[in-house]
Symmetry: C2
Subunit: 162 residues, 2 copies
DNA sequence: GCAACTTAGTTTTATATCAAACTATTTTGC
DNA sequence: GCAAAATAGTTTGATATAAAACTAAGTTGC
């Protein structure tokens, strides 16, 4: 961490700004800025947790939603998980490739299909759930008694910012 | 929005789950889940704001930090903006290409260089700042009087989750 | 009952991000 | 002072995501 200490002494230079004197300026009070920092940090930590096995962060929410809603369609998954439908396709392809989910045709709509977990998928979900629970427990510990308030605010931002 | 209503009536099917009956299950109470949703929504809205001009979301934080800290180096930018140093390089290249920033050598360290805004960069930053301020004002409106608490929690998550 | 519109899913393209590997320097420990 | 370790910056490769364009199928309005 030893930063460039003596440099600002130089004349023709406005002063090379070292780490500990950075001014965040307006960013300091921007919700959007800290929302990004917090999400990145949380996602990184989650990746570290799950990545230790053969798991993938993107799989958990999808597997969990299929597990809790057998027969769910890709478009419903997209809406429930808050991701664009075009990002669901490759995840489902992976999950199929590893035989964690099964597709069944939807009677009455040949465009769509119904998803469910295979036994292997249920096992994988169980294992992923442990990691996820541990991860969110860490977050819980950080926010202490203000979890309900934080969740309410985040839900509100997610739902109404657009 | 007319969803597939009559489908669950079919026998051999566990019931095709339509949008309005989705159970989020554990996700419902996961901070990480709503952190992602909120950040994605906020980022999308920001992109919409800035994208109307010739602006780019990634540019604002960087320009703002350079503007507030003339002489800042790429590595200090990386830390202050919370992004990996490898993501700073291409942004700086773009900003250089549009003559919004200038590089100056750092006396005493030939690996690094000092950054500053050109007059054009200052103008661009001023314009971007308006959009950013408007965006964050929307977020402020959503969180009402609980902004300080939200910021404190997000800062804490960003700083301590790793 | 057919044309127009809408919806489900996929593919393609673009952006944001991290991580690892690499080069060129600088700093540190004897 | 020199070898080893650390640091600054870049490049390359991977993943997460959205958006737009496309295909196929369903729904609606006369």
């Amino acid at each position: 961490m030893s930063e460039t200490i003596g440099k600002a002494a130089d004349a023709g230079n406005a002063g090379t700004t070292s780490d500990r004197e950075i001014h965040l300026g307006p960013l300091e009070n921007y919700i959007g800025f800290y929302l990004r920092l917090a999400q990145n940090a949380s996602f990184k930590a989650f990746k570290r947790h799950t990545g230790e096995g053969d798991l993938r962060p993107g799989w958990f929410a999808i597997l969990s939603l299929i597990g809790g809603n057998p027969g769910i369609t890709p478009i419903a998954l997209s809406r429930a998980s808050g991701r664009d439908k075009s990002t669901i396709t490759p995840v489902l392809r992976d999950l199929m490739r590893f035989h964690l989910i099964a597709r069944e045709s939807v009677p009455g709509d040949r465009r769509s299909y119904a998803l469910s977990l295979t036994p292997a998928g249920k096992e994988k979900l169980a294992r992923l759930s442990e990691h996820a629970a541990r991860h969110d427990a860490e977050l819980d510990a950080l926010v202490g008694g203000r979890k309900a308030e934080l969740l309410a605010l985040l839900r509100r931002i997610a739902a109404e910012i657009d």
